[in-house]
C-alpha cells in the first residue's frame, strides 16, 4: 500500500514564474491538505481539499491555488513566484483525524 506521494522531489524556478506541484494521497484517503515548511520552521497550513472543493484556507495569498481531482489526487499552483516562496511543500492526506504526510517537494526560487 503506497503512502502519500509527491512530485517532483525538487524544483528550481525564477521569480515571477509559475509552478505546479502534485500529490497522490494514501489509498482510501479522500482529503488532501497542503503545507509550506520554510527552512528551520514548522509547517504552515495552506489549504485543504475535500470532494474537489477547497474547504479551509490558511493565511496565504491568492497566488496560491489548488485543485482536487475525482481520484482524490491534488495539485498546488503558485503564481508570480517570490524568493520567499522557497520552501518544502508538504502534502498530507487523511480519512479521519490523523494526517499522513508525503516526502515533500523542495522548491527553490532564484
Amino acid at each position: 500500500d503506497a503512502g502519500v506521494t509527491q512530485s517532483p522531489t525538487h524544483l528550481i524556478k525564477t521569480r515571477g514564474q509559475q509552478v505546479t506541484l502534485r500529490c497522490s494521497p494514501k489509498s482510501g484517503h479522500d482529503t488532501v491538505s497542503w503545507y509550506q515548511q520554510a527552512l528551520g520552521q514548522g509547517p504552515q497550513f495552506i489549504f485543504q481539499y475535500y470532494e474537489e472543493e477547497e474547504r479551509q484556507r490558511g493565511n496565504f495569498p491568492d497566488r496560491f491555488s489548488g485543485h482536487q481531482f475525482p481520484n482524490y489526487s491534488s495539485e498546488l499552483n503558485v503564481n508570480a513566484l517570490l524568493l520567499g516562496d522557497s520552501a518544502l511543500y508538504l502534502c498530507a492526506s487523511s480519512l479521519g483525524r490523523a494526517q499522513y504526510f508525503g516526502p515533500g517537494t523542495r522548491l527553490l526560487v532564484l
Binding site: 509527491q6 491538505s33 503545507y35 514548522g42 504552515q44 490558511g58 487523511s94 483525524r97 494526517q99 499522513y100
Partner: protein, 115 residues
C-alpha cells in the same frame, strides 16, 4: 486562534537515558494533539495522537505522550533513547470544534541522542 509552543530548540540526551520533548498548546475548544518526526530531507512521519480517553498515549517506536489539560501540555517521552531517535520533532494541534482539518504546528525541537 490556535497555537503550539515548543520551548526548546534542541534537546540533548545520552543513549539509554529517558527523554522528554515539551509541547504546550492553546485552542479555543478541546484539542486533538499530534506528534510528528522529521528526518533530514524527508517529510513528516506520524508518531502518535491524542483524541480522547486515556491521558497517556502510546505511539510508534516506543514513544508516548501525556495529555495534561490543566497545564495545556502534551509532552513527548521515551524511557530509553536511541541514537536513531535523533531527528526533528513537531507537536501539532487541531481544534476539535473545527470542522476542517487544519493542523497548527510548533516550531520544532531537534533531538540529539549521543552514544
Amino acid at each position: 486562534a490556535q497555537s503550539v509552543a515548543q520551548p526548546e530548540d534542541q534537546v540533548n540526551v545520552a543513549e539509554g537515558n529517558p527523554l522528554t520533548v515539551k509541547c504546550t498548546y492553546s485552542v479555543s475548544g478541546n484539542p486533538y494533539l499530534f506528534w510528528y518526526v522529521q528526518y533530514p530531507n524527508r517529510g513528516l512521519q506520524f508518531l502518535l495522537k491524542y483524541i480522547t480517553g486515556d491521558n497517556l498515549v502510546k505511539g510508534s517506536y516506543g514513544f508516548e505522550a501525556e495529555f495534561n489539560k490543566s497545564q495545556t501540555s502534551f509532552h513527548l517521552k521515551k524511557p530509553s533513547a536511541l541514537v536513531s531517535d535523533s531527528a526533528l520533532y513537531f507537536c501539532a494541534v487541531r481544534d476539535r470544534e473545527d470542522a476542517g482539518n487544519m493542523l497548527t504546528f510548533g516550531g520544532g525541537t531537534r533531538l540529539m541522542v549521543k552514544p
